[in-house]
């Protein structure tokens, strides 16, 4: 019995570390079956540990308090160090695999399709033009975000239009409209593809983001035939 009382703080300390380890394992994707298999509820485990620590905290002297601080620090630092190490190894693997990529190449990898399309739009449009983009709604959450698109197209002015884009715009500058299929998975009744109405155009460009080649066509934009992943319309002023 005396031995148990002596070793009780260390047992509770060890169980606390085990509990944190289980919580950590549970948080790692695809490994939840470990906890499921052991039938241990980590929430109940935590509560039990809290109760187990209580008599130790109120015990005179600071030895148990010291043990609790060290135990908690081991748990916290152990968990975060494991996550940081995983993060570092993932990042370093990526850097070692492609150490000499240019900033442009890295941006293309990060913003697949979108970055190349934005670069083409920048090349094809004057700096004082206005670029109309789809509404910020599914499936254009990314390409419909004015702030995000403006980052790549500045100093061109970027404006949102509605899904059917039948707004009367008072434009005193050259107007272009982005052709965008929509990069986000569809989760509403709104179909892919924008603009959804015919647009009188001076030129339209089909942008191929894989080959970085764009095809210029002198005709009006027709949503039935010109539904591309990416493209650009030079709107005819009437």
């Amino acid at each position: 019995m005396r031995n148990f009382v002596k070793s009780y703080p260390y047992i509770v300390s060890l169980l606390t570390v085990i509990c944190f380890l289980l919580i950590f394992i549970e948080s790692v994707p695809y490994l939840t079956y470990i906890v499921t298999a052991t039938h241990i509820s980590t929430t109940a485990f935590q509560l039990l540990l809290l109760i187990a620590w209580l008599p130790l905290i109120f015990h005179p002297g600071l030895a148990n308090i010291k043990l609790l601080v060290i135990t908690l620090l081991i748990c916290i630092i152990g968990e975060s160090a494991a996550k940081t190490t995983l993060n570092i190894s993932r990042e370093l693997r990526n850097i070692i695999a492609n150490p000499f990529l240019t900033y442009d190449q890295k941006m293309t990898r990060t913003y697949k399709g979108f970055y190349s399309a934005m670069k083409e739009v920048t090349r094809l449009t004057p700096e004082d033009s206005i670029i109309a983009i789809p509404p910020r709604a599914n499936p254009w959450e990314f390409e419909g975000n004015v702030a995000m698109v403006a980052y790549f197209l500045y100093p061109r002015k970027v404006i949102n239009l509605t899904v059917d884009s039948k707004q009367n715009l008072k434009i005193d500058r050259k107007l272009y409209a982005l052709i965008a299929r929509g990069a986000s998975p569809r989760n509403t009744s709104v179909d892919y593809g924008w603009p959804k109405v015919q647009v009188k155009a001076k030129n339209i460009w089909k942008i191929d983001t894989d080959s970085s080649i764009n095809t210029q066509i002198q005709k009006d934009y027709n949503p039935d035939t010109d539904q591309w992943d990416w493209g650009l319309i030079e709107v005819k002023n009437e």
Partner: protein, 455 residues
């Protein structure tokens, strides 16, 4: 390579600007001096840059240089006036386990710098807000196109001005600067903990902070969260540094500046108020009431300078009837005009209480549960050891918990989408990571040494 050179040049400039101001901290190590001078130089030179812009100057490198020179000269005259001198605290050479820990710390910091520099800028606000503003300021040398709506001014400019300086120096990405901010913070924490504890514990403290996955990952992205944590916690550490009846009153002043500068990074969070409480306590305890009032005035002035500009932009937008339909503008106006809760707000809070409790548990307690749990044994050490500095650290943690809970209550009553930004609430509490680690290791030191009344 251009980016690395631009980042290092900018960082060196900040260190030179802030160097003189560190003399008032008395005897500190070179490592700590480098860290705190970078942070002071960064915050103050960008702040003066903004003031000069408001007075009619442009955002260009010449004006930035002039801002730095102004801060440098003012610090120089303060040193002359109050006879502050350079005093270096020599650190013993690292050996054995300490040497291994320091190697590990340096390697981790270098890795953070490499990752931050290598990766392109990504993340919603990092791209669309902070870096975008940096690019436009570097291009236009003004806030042109940023004052057309409230979104681009929803955060103060410090981080964007950092980015702008790097882009003016022909850097391609400014992201690497954020790991330098972490390095400066680590230097400050090491310096403080070395004074309060010992070499081993101070090294373990900084290692534990770097190893935290949230702190580390924020040092590799271009968000404001890490910079906010760095200025806030460093500010707290300096404010609570002076001992009773000590003459190290410069700490109160530097701490006040650092806490004031947190409002130059994020003006939407209220944790600067905790700094004011700590300064008041210290001012009373150290019998330095005038200095405490002056430090609080500094915090107010830094915060007010930005807020008055921001409010002016909002009012001009509303007069032009532009942006009024924008929910961000409306919310910002509402936030400014209704700081006192009325009975309707209180009723709404009571109605939403179960949801608020769930929210606080999910996003404030749960992500940092281990760190919050540490407050239990720390409370026991506070009671048993009666150490004044530990009491202040503990009080800071308690105040932050109270403040965030009250803040979420008020937020829930004014913003209909309050429960959809849990990630943002979690990031807002990031400062609890270094604060709890520092407090618990300091408490461990007190237990180990058996020191009492350590003030």
């Amino acid at each position: 390579m251009n980016s690395i050179i631009a980042i290092l040049l900018t960082s060196m400039f900040y260190v030179v600007v802030g160097w003189q101001l560190t003399y008032m901290l008395g005897k500190i190590s070179k490592i700590e001096r480098l860290g705190i001078s970078f942070l002071l130089g960064n915050g103050l030179s960008t702040f003066v840059w903004f003031i000069l812009y408001r007075l009619g100057a442009q955002f260009d490198l010449l004006t930035l240089g002039f801002s730095g020179l102004t801060v440098f000269l003012v610090s120089y005259f303060i040193n002359k006036l109050f006879k502050f001198k350079y005093q270096n605290l020599v650190i013993k050479k690292f050996t054995g386990l300490n040497l291994k820990i320091i190697y590990l710390v340096v390697i981790l910091l270098l890795i953070s710098f490499v990752i931050g520099n290598y990766n392109p800028i990504s993340g919603w606000d990092a791209v669309a807000l902070y870096d975008f503003r940096g690019h436009t300021i570097a291009l236009n040398h003004s806030l042109k196109d940023l004052t057309d709506g409230s979104y681009y001014l929803s955060y103060p400019l410090m981080i964007s001005l950092d980015h702008a300086a790097i882009y003016m120096l022909k850097g391609i990405s400014a992201q690497g600067l954020h790991s330098i901010i972490l390095m400066a913070f680590i230097a400050v924490v090491y310096g403080r903990m070395l004074k309060w504890t010992n070499s081993r514990l101070s090294l373990l403290t900084i290692l534990f902070i770097i190893l935290n996955e949230e702190i580390f990952s924020h040092s590799t992205v271009a968000y404001t969260n890490l910079a906010y944590v760095v200025y806030l916690v460093a500010g707290f550490l300096y404010v609570i540094s002076p001992k009773e009846k000590s003459r190290e009153l410069g700490y109160l002043f530097v701490g006040g500046i650092m806490i004031g500068l947190t409002t130059w990074i994020r003006s939407d969070v209220p944790f600067w108020m905790m700094g004011i409480v700590l300064i008041l306590i210290q001012g009373w305890k150290l019998r330095a009431k005038i200095l405490a009032v002056f430090s609080i005035f500094l915090i107010y002035q830094i915060r007010h300078t930005w807020l008055s500009f921001f409010t002016g932009v909002l009012i001009s937008l509303s007069l032009r009837n532009e942006g009024l339909s924008n929910p961000i503008t409306l919310n910002a106006l509402k936030q400014i005009s209704s700081s006192v809760p009325n009975i309707g707000i209180i009723n709404k809070i009571i109605a939403d209480l179960p949801e608020i409790i769930r929210y606080v548990y999910l996003y404030i307690f749960s992500p940092y549960r281990g760190l919050w749990l540490l407050t239990i044994p720390i409370a026991a050490v506070v009671i048993k050891k009666k150490d004044y500095r530990l009491l202040l650290l503990f009080l800071t943690i308690l105040m932050s918990a109270l403040m965030v809970t009250v803040g979420i209550m008020l937020f829930s009553a004014t913003y209909p989408t309050w429960d959809q930004i849990g990630g943002s609430a979690r990031r807002m509490m990031l400062f609890i990571v270094p604060l709890s680690i520092i407090t618990s290791i300091y408490a461990l030191h007190l237990i180990k040494t058996g020191r009492k009344y350590n003030a």
